[in-house]
Symmetry: C2
Subunit: 424 residues, 2 copies
Amino acid sequence: MIVIQNPEPDAWAELTLRPSQSQSIDRQKVQDIFNAVKADGDAALIELTDRYDGHRLSKLVVSTKQPPKIDEELARAIKIAAKNIKTYHAAQQIDSRQIETSPGVECWSRAVGIDRVGLYIPGGTAPLFSTVLMLVIPAQLAKCQEITVVTPPDSSGHLDPVMHWTLDYLGVDQVCLVGGAQAIAALSLGTKSVPRVDKIFGPGNQWVTAAKELSTRYGCAIDMPAGPSEVLIIADQNAKPTFLAADLLSQAEHGPDSQVILLSDSQTLIEETMTELKIQLEDLPRRSITESSLQQSLAISLVDISTCVKWANLYAPEHLILNLVDADAYVDQIRNAGSVFVGPWSSESMGDYASGTNHTLPTAGFARNYSGVSLSSFQKRISYQRISKRGVVELGPAVAKMARAEKLEAHARSIDIRLKSLES
Amino acid sequence: MIVIQNPEPDAWAELTLRPSQSQSIDRQKVQDIFNAVKADGDAALIELTDRYDGHRLSKLVVSTKQPPKIDEELARAIKIAAKNIKTYHAAQQIDSRQIETSPGVECWSRAVGIDRVGLYIPGGTAPLFSTVLMLVIPAQLAKCQEITVVTPPDSSGHLDPVMHWTLDYLGVDQVCLVGGAQAIAALSLGTKSVPRVDKIFGPGNQWVTAAKELSTRYGCAIDMPAGPSEVLIIADQNAKPTFLAADLLSQAEHGPDSQVILLSDSQTLIEETMTELKIQLEDLPRRSITESSLQQSLAISLVDISTCVKWANLYAPEHLILNLVDADAYVDQIRNAGSVFVGPWSSESMGDYASGTNHTLPTAGFARNYSGVSLSSFQKRISYQRISKRGVVELGPAVAKMARAEKLEAHARSIDIRLKSLES
């Protein structure tokens, strides 16, 4: 990690810039994939899966019935995580409240599940069944009518067994074995096997991200732009260097483009943590990935914890750990973060899997303007107004006046005609 | 209007397609505008405003102090509208609730105003001071820290007087006199006069829409994709054709590309409304715009009101008027709509100006996957978790188990190290 002592405020903005993306995507290639899927549907998906994943599938849709047996302790863990995620997301349901804004004018809103949602579960080095939990559970709570799960085939060309078990446990009947930009194209356009959806969720690599961006031109909504994962830890002198090192490493192992940041008012703590980091790194299985990530990571000492919080708000981290004795005192000062872990016992991994909060969070500074996935991500909110005769009499003249000032005469007349009908 | 009787369900999907956009945008031209603003900042804005709006401005930022006198009745109307919009949006504030998902695991979330927001107020044939109300009020309620308002100069090259008065009334000190794609470029990139923002709101023409789409590549969020305005009315035989005609016209006058739809179970009602439409159209000031819009508009009879609701859900209208005796009975069947007007006295114009709901709504079928602007559009929601020692003991082992199953060893060790520390 790069250690920096008390950087000048002028230098902050530059320090909060993310390491540049490893390579930029050829967007035309993504457009070509969309064109192929539009032209040839399922045949294109099978062809592209063969080309990019190296598996020639006989069918794209796989039933999740008759799930395989999995490790019992793992099954129990997944059930606990599912329960917590369900409890937390169910509590996000907001009851509609009718407000009488003027006499005879009642306004309210109703949350309705988005009809058709597509959930992208990345493949890669390991099957991310935790992302299945994080996306399927809120989609079900939102009562989305069609939930389509897509994921690339595993290294053997099949549906990963743990993912299979998890999907069945959650009551998802089938899954489409397709990944990458072609999966996003299929969800955006629809094919015989993959239904067209209204909104696409889920993390993915740069190709998936570019394809999600393109999907919006085809009328799809997306959860958020995605980038490499990141954590920022603010620690005071009471923090244990062993905890800090473990938390930094648990984020750094995600990928070589992950970034981890440690902020503290104690230079001693930073030095001790750097030493501990080397020790813990020694026998990590994903050591080389982790080392790449650490090379572009920062440990910065600042004058006090309030200054650390200011720096963190400028950086807008995906994950923010407050490893502070008085962590609670800083909770309300956080302005930009995806998810916050309060106190020394709140490791990020708890939120990644099982505390109940969602792990699909804004990265790359998007915590400034996006929220993480929540129940409301799977809903749209429809506004309503019910206006009585009295409402028209009391509020109508003001509406007609404003409409005429905006030179919208027909708007004004839709009031006039109602007022006139009440006179007669 | 095109009158259709009982179309086969097979034909519905095609009927719900919007009339094709008048012309497609040259996206390279939008990119060129961004490049010019990036290179030359304010100078580019002044140059582009001269080229496209025909006004060479001496300064881009105009103070709203010393507002002009405006018609007193109009001032009163704007104040009433502002009060209702404030009342309704203030009620959308959601209190955070802490949930204990497992023993020792507390989760909650906090809504925080997006730091810097940019509000685009279109110019065009008339100054849309109503859009100022609809965007500034929720931004202020959300406590956004920097609210930047941009709007093109009026036909005399100045800030429109009513808009000037409205901005001052709401406590907005200044406004940037720039419109079109160059305004969106300035908000995305920042110039000396126009600060860079985190999220851009507001309606606009196709150039503005294309520029908003491009702004997302520069890290901005946007409220929603925009398209021509539209209304769908569902009416039963008790509806007054005079009201229906007035409501259809009040939407059709927006622009030649607006679409209005009338659905009914009564063919007689449709015929009477078509007759009334011709009468009311006669002396409308925006008659030619309105006629263009009506040419691509539909009046469809269907077997019953439930079928009309099904059709409306497929169309996903921006505005939906339920001019029905038993309108309340259908409220919960609406799945896709921006804003719903319940009952014969609820004209769309009430919501456009003053009922209190927001008039920035999803068009072009985007009501399937987007909500209209609300308080939450100006906020991000940060999730929190506080885990106690007990929480680590009770939930930690499940987290470590799952992390190892996803081959993320360092994630598991961040739990192990805490559990070990508790043993000693």
